[in-house]
């Protein structure tokens, strides 16, 4: 197919994926957070937790809506623009996407109606169950999507029969080498996103002294969780990295701007900063730390790290500087979250539960407000590293991207891209307008929990938001 049409198809997938991922990461974590606060409400009966549940779920409604409408194009884009890929991998990949649709997407949709609109209609326990199903559904979605994506990175359990892949071992295909790391690293990234957003929004209100007794609760919950999640995520990231060097050497070498395979008995050096040049097949310049790459990439002093010079140019990923720096931005943000979380926990212990002591920590609170966009930047950088780094393969080692596309005219793809760009701009703008309104309105501190419904009043209660 013509090259420009291939580039357009890739561009469209990148654009729709980059837009879509912004939303499920908050849905996954925010619904989990809502599960936590609603459990606290059911367990302790303290009405403040009920008000937290009602307040934050308004943000979830807006976020969930954009997530759903931007998710539908993803499922169908494999068929519209990547027909050859769909034919080749459908027996596994399509299978897994079918599981995601039926087991996860449907589970969320099946309970979100009760969660958002059913406060007056069901007992506390049933509503809590509905919330837990929405949280479970969104996490299950992440699970199945990552199973499919991990298989693309490290395909297993399949063999080529009559020009397409058939599954020979389901367990191996689902539990592909990358899967454990792909699923866990992504899930933790989603959790971090929501917790940072909640911490940041809470900190914003604390800084402005707006309902501080209310927001200190959500701030504390978010921080307690982050203090555990942020360091674990660093470990998950490191383990993902070791896995990448083992299973996708071209990607690993590209991420680190590493050209020369280290000789036996020596350690590969790590570049802190560099500028990789694919045309010249070397770095224009680099600041190196001897031996550190072997340690990072193989957890051993002299572990071999394959250099790009030993990989044919046609098998090397493109856009090396993008890969190189996107990785550093992501990892840097990950470390920043850990530092910020530890600093905050330390400060909270020093404040010894006194609200005014916490409120006086203005620099700290401001740091959290400014941190709000960072998880989104980190996630996008991570995905860029993951997917661009997999090129030129769409299924690593088995199918190249330029063999995977449907034969669609450049005009048609341009048309659909313009549609997505326009619609997504309107969606994200509207989201921010409505989210800002929600933020400024703040929580309803007069809200009373519903009376436990009886069989008589259940079916005639009005539908409330």
């Amino acid at each position: 197919m013509p090259v420009e049409a291939l580039h357009l198809a890739r561009g469209q997938f990148a654009m729709t994926a980059i837009f879509h991922i912004l939303w499920p990461i908050l849905t996954i974590s925010l619904s989990a957070f809502l599960l936590v606060v609603e459990t606290l409400w059911v367990r302790t009966n303290e009405v403040v937790w009920y008000r937290h549940a009602r307040f934050w779920s308004k943000l979830l409604v807006l976020n969930f809506a954009v997530g759903v409408v931007s998710g539908i194009p993803m499922e169908f884009q494999f068929g519209t623009n990547w027909g050859a890929f769909s034919n080749y991998t459908g027996e596994f990949f399509g299978n897994i996407l079918g599981f995601e649709g039926a087991m996860a997407f449907m589970l969320e949709a099946g309970f979100v109606g009760i969660m958002m609109l059913g406060w007056e209609r069901v007992p506390k326990g049933v509503h809590l169950f509905a919330t837990s199903m929405v949280a479970l559904g969104s996490t299950l979605s992440a699970f199945w999507i990552m199973v499919a994506n991990s298989w693309m990175q490290t395909p297993a359990g399949v063999e080529v029969v009559n020009g397409k892949l058939v599954v020979t071992d389901y367990a191996k295909a689902i539990f592909s080498p990358d899967m454990a790391w792909g699923v866990s690293h992504m899930w933790f990234a989603a959790l971090e996103t929501g917790l940072v957003v909640i911490a940041g929004i809470s900190a914003y209100n604390l800084l402005r002294r707006r309902n501080p007794e209310f927001f200190v609760r959500s701030f504390k919950v978010a921080l307690v969780l982050l203090a555990f999640i942020a360091p674990v995520q660093i470990w998950l990231g490191d383990s993902s990295g070791v896995d990448v060097f083992a299973t996708q050497p071209a990607k690993g070498a590209a991420i680190e701007g590493h050209w020369q395979t280290n000789a036996p008995g020596t350690g590969a050096s790590w570049s802190l900063l560099a500028w990789p040049d694919k045309a010249r097949q070397t770095n224009d310049w680099s600041l190196e730390i001897p031996g550190l790459l072997s340690v990072l990439g193989t957890h051993s002093l002299h572990g071999q790290v394959k250099g790009l010079a030993d990989i044919p140019v046609v098998d090397q990923p493109p856009m090396l500087p993008l890969l190189y720096y996107a990785f550093r931005v992501m990892a840097g943000i990950g470390f920043l979250f850990m530092v910020l979380a530890f600093w905050t926990v330390f400060a909270m212990r020093k404040a010894r539960g006194r609200l005014d002591a916490l409120l006086s920590q203005r620099k700290l609170l401001l740091a959290w407000v400014l941190a709000i966009p960072l998880p989104y930047i980190a996630v996008e950088c991570g995905w860029i590293v993951r997917e661009v780094g997999r090129q030129p393969w769409v299924v690593y080692g088995l199918l190249r991207t330029d063999q995977a596309a449907s034969n669609i005219s450049a005009t048609a793809i341009t048309g659909s891209m313009i549609m997505f760009a326009t619609f997504y701009t309107i969606l994200i703008t509207s989201f921010f307008v409505f989210a800002r309104r929600w933020l400024r309105k703040g929580p309803d501190l007069t809200l009373l929990p519903p009376a436990e419904p009886t069989a008589r009043n259940a079916s005639h209660a009005s539908i409330e938001y």
């Binding site: 409604v61 807006l62 809506a65 954009v66 759903v68 409408v69 539908i72 194009p73 499922e75 169908f76 494999f78 068929g79 519209t80 027909g83 769909s86 034919n87 991998t89 459908g90 027996e91 596994f92 399509g94 299978n95 897994i96 996407l97 079918g98 599981f99 995601e100 649709g101 039926a102 997407f105 449907m106 589970l107 949709a109 099946g110 309970f111 979100v112 109606g113 609109l117 059913g118 209609r121 069901v122 199903m133 397409k164 058939v166 599954v167 020979t168 389901y170 449907s406 048309g415 549609m419 619609f423 509207s430 409505f434 309104r437 259940a458 079916s459 005639h460 209660a461 539908i463 938001y465």
Partner: protein, 328 residues
């Protein structure tokens, strides 16, 4: 059982299961798209509020049947998934665009103040466009993705048929869920929609005979015509029942009748299509995945299927009864 017959059984089972998911999608998302289309004809915001309230709790789960079915098609019949979506690129993309419109608008309208009428318009138009695209896609599949002027005319009729069929489901849903003047309006819409839907359905059936690769050859096959006539009779009875129950003031009868009409039409379609998944282009047998995939998927989705139906029914049950206006 030898491998060939196991494979055949599995692929037929999946054809049936995907067909079932399609019926569930068409009836459930059909009524909420229908209600949304009808909001375009109600200038009073209070009426639109009630109409949207009647679907607010279930529209998302209803739409998700399409996602589940798309995924199932991808896994069970990957070449059909690829062929249909690639060859129908433009209608599919317009469908996606319209689904973005209706999905965003129905949620954003609740947060909107001055812009609410704008979001309502986007919601109605998006829903109408969704129905039109689905009709176009149906028409194109029935005519085997073949271009031509006569085929274009056929596709126009299938589009009108789907829009009016969804409007019928929507109107009868409103008869169930609303009261007073809105309910009476819904009854009037139901009658109109019955006639337009039936007209379109008759033209489509005749067209299928003449234009579709399915054509006479399938209908000539042993036993097929008698089964199809059976479903046609059922459809005719359903139509009579809808008209009767609307006139007699029944609340639930019209919707039940419309659902039966859809199921009968669907069954007729599926039987006419079989053994093709894309008439003239792709048979069930040739498009199906290997037994290993079909079996694994049957376990995974088969086990989950009754659970899916269960919690969907529960959500409907919970919000049963007439909608009551919300006072803020």
């Amino acid at each position: 059982m030898n491998p060939a017959s196991t494979e055949s059984l599995l692929s037929h089972a999946w054809f049936g299961l995907i067909g079932l998911m399609l019926v569930l999608y068409v009836i459930t998302d059909g009524f909420d798209l229908g209600v949304s289309i009808l909001t375009l004809f109600r200038p009073k915001e209070s009426e639109r509020n009630l109409m949207i309230q009647s679907i607010g709790h279930v529209w998302d789960a209803n739409e998700t049947w399409l996602v589940a079915l798309g995924g199932a098609l991808f896994g069970a019949f990957p070449s059909a998934y690829a062929m249909i979506l690639s060859d129908l690129y433009v209608p599919i993309m317009v469908l996606i665009a319209s689904m973005i419109m209706r999905g965003a608008a129905i949620e954003f309208r609740h947060a909107a103040t001055d812009s609410k009428p704008v979001w309502d318009r986007i919601f109605g138009v998006g829903s109408l466009l969704t129905a039109i695209c689905q009709g176009v896609i149906l028409g194109k599949i029935l005519t085997g993705l073949v271009p031509g002027f006569l085929h274009l005319g056929f596709v126009v009729v299938t589009a009108i048929g789907v829009v009016s069929g969804y409007a019928l489901l929507g109107a009868t849903w409103l008869v169930k869920k609303t009261t007073g003047s809105l309910e009476q309006t819904a009854r009037r819409y139901s009658i109109t929609a019955v006639f337009t839907t039936v007209t379109a359905a008759i033209i489509v059936s005749a067209g299928t005979l003449v234009i579709s690769p399915v054509g006479v050859s399938r209908w000539d096959q042993h036993g097929v015509l008698s089964i199809l006539i059976g479903f046609a009779v059922l459809a005719a009875l359903a139509v009579c029942y809808i008209l009767y129950s609307v006139h007699m003031g029944s609340e639930h009868g019209p919707f039940a009748g419309s659902a039966i009409l859809f199921i009968a039409s669907f069954a007729g379609l599926a039987i006419s299509l079989f053994p093709y998944i894309v008439p003239g282009q792709l048979t069930v047998a040739s498009a199906a995945s290997d037994s290993s995939t079909l079996t694994f998927m049957l376990f995974g989705i088969g086990i989950v299927f009754p659970i899916m139906i269960g919690y969907n029914l529960y959500q409907y049950h919970l919000f049963r009864g007439k909608v009551v206006p919300v006072h803020h």
